[in-house]
Symmetry: C2
Subunit: 229 residues, 2 copies
Amino acid sequence: MLNQYSAVDKVLLAVDCIIFGFDKDGLKILLIKRDFEPEKGKWSLIGGFLRKEEDLNSAAIRILNTYTGLHDIYMEQLHSYSEIDRDPVERTISVSYYALINIENHNAELIKNYHAQWFSVSEAPNLIFDHNQMLRFAISRLRYRTSIKPIGFELLPEKFTMRQLLELYEAILSKELDKRNFISKINSLDILIKLDEKDMQSSRKGSYLYKFDKDKYEDKLLNNFVLNL
Amino acid sequence: MLNQYSAVDKVLLAVDCIIFGFDKDGLKILLIKRDFEPEKGKWSLIGGFLRKEEDLNSAAIRILNTYTGLHDIYMEQLHSYSEIDRDPVERTISVSYYALINIENHNAELIKNYHAQWFSVSEAPNLIFDHNQMLRFAISRLRYRTSIKPIGFELLPEKFTMRQLLELYEAILSKELDKRNFISKINSLDILIKLDEKDMQSSRKGSYLYKFDKDKYEDKLLNNFVLNL
DNA sequence: AATCAATTGCGTAAAAAATACACTTTAAAA
DNA sequence: TTTTAAAGTGTATTTTTTACGCAATTGATT
């Protein structure tokens, strides 16, 4: 029974994940040393293939879970890459996703087994195929996202100082921000709860710890805003 | 020779195009009456399947050309849709693209042959599969694009009045704009050339015609700006 | 006990951008 | 000549963004 569907060339569909984390040294990404050909031994984004029984979002979530042990992580689709020879072995289209995770929360054992490693975004090694391009695109999307959605819950420890939050934003935007203006803009979002507790690591005076107001944070996630930092 | 690539489920990859046009009645999209099963006879975005010898951008351009006769049209990839049963016949992942075209320039013959038709965006019929969702997403992306890139070249005739440009923006954003503020904001972009010629259709007084300064327009395309209308 | 050092915490003034708003001009039609 | 319908034009007000500096705190040092 002929139909429009018959003459078509099927393809492999891959998912590649740009996994962002943040620690005292700044914004990082999780990369993996590829353990199969081609390009075995080179650095690559964390990826896998789409399976019959899942959609792309599920595949991205499965792949993230495989390499980090994490679940319930929000991921967002970015772009599809389809150059004919992007993968020399077989025609493969790849859909990129990004995730934001707290570096402390993932399974360190797991990533070691997979020869995965965190790299500063600014010092990332050269990546296989078109993964450099994927990474650049992800960074620019992350910057954009920062201007319309709250960010931080995913990347910071539960309790954090204003300075940590400021440095997170500075790392993402890669520019310096004025401390006072930053604080008043963040406060105007009304998503932080100031705790009665101080972090004494960073200074003699100590600085107040904050946490996100989960409900308000999630409300804000639903409605875009403009945050001009 | 076993490798990581062997166990994988290949899929069909489709491209669906949201084709925007603009005329005196506002913002429109080009839809097609589907002439094969499933959902034969229902309205659908214009689509096709990715072929071996092309990448997704080329496929989108080919599909647009097939139905409109147009070429050299800028298209932008939007999103990939991968719900398992989105197409009931076979597992198909679809990548959406959008294009902006001048309604007057396309091949009317061609679209008639294909049972394609222009619809006001606000009066679009119900579409097959997840095409309604694709359309909504495309509209929101078009609005966003409007705020960071110049728009109009693609949608307006070569010479146009300020009112036409204003109405284009109003149609895209679906809100009223203040004429005077609009004009001064558009002028501040410095992409228009005021001609010594008037359009006498719209009023007794006649209104000046403008055209885009192609070079400046394209410079602006390369660099984002913020246009708050 | 006094001083030092490092970082936190806080507010205001100036500049820039966005918004609101109304009347005159023009030329064809009556 | 009067009428009519749309074009064309500028300013004051409000809001937002930016720039900027100093006092408070406290552990460490002398």
